[in-house]
Each structure stands twice: as structure tokens, then as C-alpha cells.
Symmetry: C2
């Protein structure tokens, strides 16, 4: 029942004066998704953004940028390679490609080093690791060109090892997406968003939500072998404290990472200790901060049986 929840992430940002990604043919998005070996489940849109819910995570498209997140054993670098080929090179202001540490990296068909090699066939770039190799970390490749002033903020919240009662609740049979949405308190916490979500069989849940140019996305891998929930948004900083607290309180993870671009957030709870903190201003101008938090009170548990004798 293992599923790799840990995501790969691609972001391509265009220069301001160029045409709109929103007018690109649907076939391009179909192909980009197919190339990483995922499929499109559904789509919502408003005047600012199209949000595709995928069999493995999400694709968001704005006029001047796209964001693609995929988990499982998807090959996101293949989508990246295709999209960087489709979009006129002169129109691209920045590309970032991320992979967070996988639960079982040996099951992946490529590794970050391979992906970077492929990306560097198309563009110059720098590769960094935020976090320790033996702990949680996030591998990031980015183009070197300095971005024009960009005040867009992104927050990634990656949560591990939810409390047993949370995992049990989220692995019940026949949960509807409404059940999970209610449990996560989406409507109360995020009023006014258009929401598109999906409850996978036997477990797993994905959600995309949009309001004007804002988005958030949630992906839940509740299984006991690799419990993981990710949340990502470009919502303004003022509400972040609340948003992070909301999920930490609901899901009670044993540990979590917060990675921010062009913003910083304080620890959302006194119950956690910061165990890693790394910052860098990237060559493209983004201010990036990566923090790992660990519950101060550990739970005494028993080992996991892999194979009964």
C-alpha cells in the first residue's frame, strides 16, 4: 500500500510583455501531463487562472506563469523539458524545478542529478539543496537570470506523520471528497474560493482552489507506511500564520517543513522545535527559506512490521 506522496514541482515564469499562457491550446497541457505519466481528472477556472486536478497532484496556469506539482512515480522532468521547448526561450524569465526528499527514492525512475542534467541541455542553472541530506530536504534547480522585481510569495507546508487518529480517520473506507473537505475545514478557513477536489480509492485526496489570481492546493497521502500531507499557496502573508496553524492543529503531524519564497513565517506552534533553518537569495532574486519543525514531545511507538516471520 505504499504511495510516494513527496512532490516534484515545476514553475515557469514569463517576461511581462509576452503573450498569455491562458491562450495556449489545451492539447499542450494534455501532452505535458501525459509526458509525466499522469492524467487530467478535472479543471476549474476563472479570469486569472486555470487549475487542473491531476491523477497525481496539480497543474495551474496563469497568463504569465505555470505551476505543476506531481507526486508518486511521475516523471515531471519530461513535462518540464517539453514545456520549455514549447514556450519561446526569449519569453521565459525564470524556471525553477524542485524535488523534495522521497520516502523511497530508489523506486523513482530518475533522481535529481539526472533531472538537472536534462534541464541543463535547455538552460543554464544552479542546483541547491535546502535541508540536510540525512533529514528532510528540498532540492532546487533554478535559472540564473535575474527576475524583474517579483513580489509573488509562495508558501509550501509539508507535513509528516499525522497522529494515529487522523490517519485512521483519513483511511476509512468510502470517504467522499465532501467528508475530507469537512474534516480539513476547508470551507470555514478559506471562504470564497472555487474548490475542485477528488477522493482516491482506497485512500488519498487532492484539492485545488482558486480565487482571483490566488490558489491553494492540498494533497493527502494518509497511509500508515508514508503519511504525508502537502499544502501550497500564494495567499498573502497576513493570513499565513492562521493557515499554517489551521493545518498543524487539524493534522497534528510529528514533523513538518515550511519552505517560503519571498516571504517568511513564524513557527505556527509552541509545541514544535525548529531543527533546521536555511536561507538563500537565489541568483534569480527569490528569497528562499527552508525550515524543518519537530514535535517537542515524541510518541513512544513500536517498530513497523515489514514482513511477518
Amino acid at each position: 500500500m505504499f504511495f510516494e506522496g513527496a512532490e516534484k514541482k515545476l514553475e515557469i515564469i514569463l517576461k511581462n510583455k509576452t503573450g498569455s499562457l491562458l491562450s495556449i491550446d489545451q492539447e499542450v497541457w494534455d501532452k505535458a501531463v501525459r509526458l509525466c505519466e499522469a492524467s487530467i481528472l478535472s479543471m476549474i477556472e476563472n479570469d486569472h487562472v486555470k487549475a487542473f486536478l491531476l491523477s497525481e497532484s496539480s497543474l495551474f496556469v496563469w497568463k504569465d506563469r505555470l505551476l505543476m506539482l506531481t507526486c508518486g512515480e511521475t516523471k515531471l522532468v519530461q513535462s518540464a523539458h517539453y514545456l520549455m521547448d514549447i514556450i519561446n526561450k526569449e519569453d521565459i524569465a525564470a524556471v525553477t524545478f524542485q524535488r523534495k526528499n522521497e520516502y523511497r527514492s530508489h523506486l523513482q525512475s530518475t533522481h535529481f542529478d539526472d533531472d538537472v542534467k536534462l534541464l541543463r541541455e535547455q538552460t543554464e542553472g544552479t542546483a541547491l539543496r535546502f535541508g540536510q541530506l540525512h533529514g528532510h530536504h528540498n532540492l532546487l534547480f533554478h535559472t540564473n537570470q535575474t527576475m524583474p522585481e517579483d513580489d509573488d510569495k509562495t508558501i509550501e507546508l509539508l507535513m509528516y506523520d499525522m497522529r494515529e487518529e487522523v490517519s485512521k480517520r483519513l483511511t476509512q473506507e468510502n470517504l467522499s471528497s465532501q467528508d475530507i473537505r469537512s474534516f480539513l475545514g476547508i470551507e470555514e478557513a478559506f471562504p470564497g474560493f472555487i474548490v475542485d477536489d477528488f477522493s482516491f480509492k482506497p485512500y488519498g485526496y487532492s484539492l485545488n482552489a482558486i480565487k482571483d489570481h490566488l490558489y491553494f492546493t492540498i494533497h493527502v497521502t494518509p497511509q500508515e507506511t508514508s503519511p504525508y500531507v502537502s499544502f501550497e499557496t500564494n495567499m498573502p502573508l497576513s493570513t499565513d500564520g492562521f493557515v499554517l496553524k489551521h493545518f498543524i492543529n487539524k493534522l497534528k503531524p510529528e514533523s513538518f517543513d515550511v519552505m517560503t519564497f519571498n516571504c517568511e513565517v513564524q513557527s505556527p506552534s509552541e509545541d514544535y522545535l525548529t531543527i533546521c533553518e536555511q536561507k538563500e537569495r537565489l541568483k534569480n532574486g527569490f528569497d528562499v527559506c527552508f525550515k524543518t519543525y519537530q514535535a517537542k514531545h515524541h510518541r513512544k511507538t513500536r517498530p513497523t512490521v515489514i514482513l511477518k516471520g
Copy 2:
């Protein structure tokens, strides 16, 4: 400059009444070491134990048991398969085979699941994971047969991310084994042991030490990309607190694991928080405890450059 310090470990224990492993032909040990793709550098012995220092870690042989530790990309399961074939099946009381989480598991030729499959061709057994999959962990396969009363104790201390000044000290050019032995304070902390050690080029250090039936072994991978030091011993519990404190104080790791068999130790330092604790009595009768500790005060650092743009 990456080197995988994380060890694989094999222990085979014989029933009391059988012949002595000490009388086994040297060719057998040569072949066992060759099969995992390591080589023997040197050997020390007394009336109770032979200790081989290997190109990748150590092999200890007593009358009634053997212990083999190998790191890097060695294939220890091949040695295990061979030794379980050489030793009369009826004479074997217990086999345990461990792999700790690797820094870069995708570079290994086999993974724990593959190894267990191979071992199960020769013996029944149970496979467990101590620790969380997304954190430090130790995978353990063991035979199911209950051991006759065995009060042998083992302590493994696995240290990550030594302080920068420690790493710098241990990666200086042309360090002799005497230099490293002095830095680690071996003679003062462990009087009366016969010591055999080796300083690798450009970095790395291995040490075996024996006194009567007692042993300890130290393996140092000081490089910045994967700093790791392991210590293991069967010394009696009364001195453990001191021994663990000794290494924690010398090396100042950011985090460390303590895995104990048939004994328990208290936290060696107030400066660390226990973040994982798992216990189990194995089917073979061993009481196993796995704990991970994390420094309470994190160091603010910058990300690691993987590839300069």
C-alpha cells in the same frame, strides 16, 4: 566526494555446543569479504576474538558468533548468503541483518526488500523498521527461533552532522591514524584495548579494538556532503553513559541515533531532544530499542550548492 557511511550489519550466532568459528579457515573470511566487494586491510586477535579491518568497515569473529559491518556500496547480503551456506544450518541459533537509512539509497545496488528476499531463500525470518521512513531508521531482519538465554549487549551510536570545526579537523590533508586516534581520545577513554586503525585518503578513518571478548569499532566519514560517524560496542552497560557522552562531546553531532540490544541507555546529553523512540522484544528474544536525538539549538546555515550555475 560523496561516500555512503551508513552501514549494513550481519550477525550470526551459533548454538553453544557447536565447534568454534575461530578454527574456520582464513579462506572463508577472505571470500566472505570479497563477496561484498570489500577487502581485508589488517587483522588483530586475542584468545577470544579475531578483528579484521576492512576497506569498508569491519569483521569480528568469536568462537560462537560473527559480526560484519560494511559501508559504501558494498553488497553485504552476498556475504551473508555465503556464510549461512558455509555454516551448518543446525548450528545457527540466530541471524540478524540490518541496514540503516542511507544518505543516497538510489546509489545502492540492492535495497532492504531485495536483501530480505534473498535471505528468506535460506531461512525464515521477520523484517522490521525501527524509526520513521522519512527520518533516521534502521531496517532489521532476524530469524524467528528463540535464542537460548543470551545476555550479550550491543550498543550502536550513529552520529550525523558533526560541527563544522570537527569536520574541518577530520578532513585536513595527510592526517595519520595517530592524529585521528588522539583527536577522538581513544587511549584515554579505552585503556587496555588492542587497537588497529587506518586513515583513508583523502578522508575517512576506521578503527577496531579488542580486550578479552570485548570489542569496539569506529568508522568516520567526515566529508561535508555526508558527515557520519558510527561507534559500536559490546562493552558492559555500566560504562556506556560515559562512552556515549565521550563521543557526543568530542564530535558535537547535530543529531544521533542510539540502537541497543539487551540494554538501555539514558540520553547522554541535556542538549538534545529525543524525537523518536521505538522498542520491541524480537521473536528471537532480543530486546531492541531505537532512539533518535536532535540538538535543541539548531544552527542557521545556508543551502548546499550541488551545481554552480
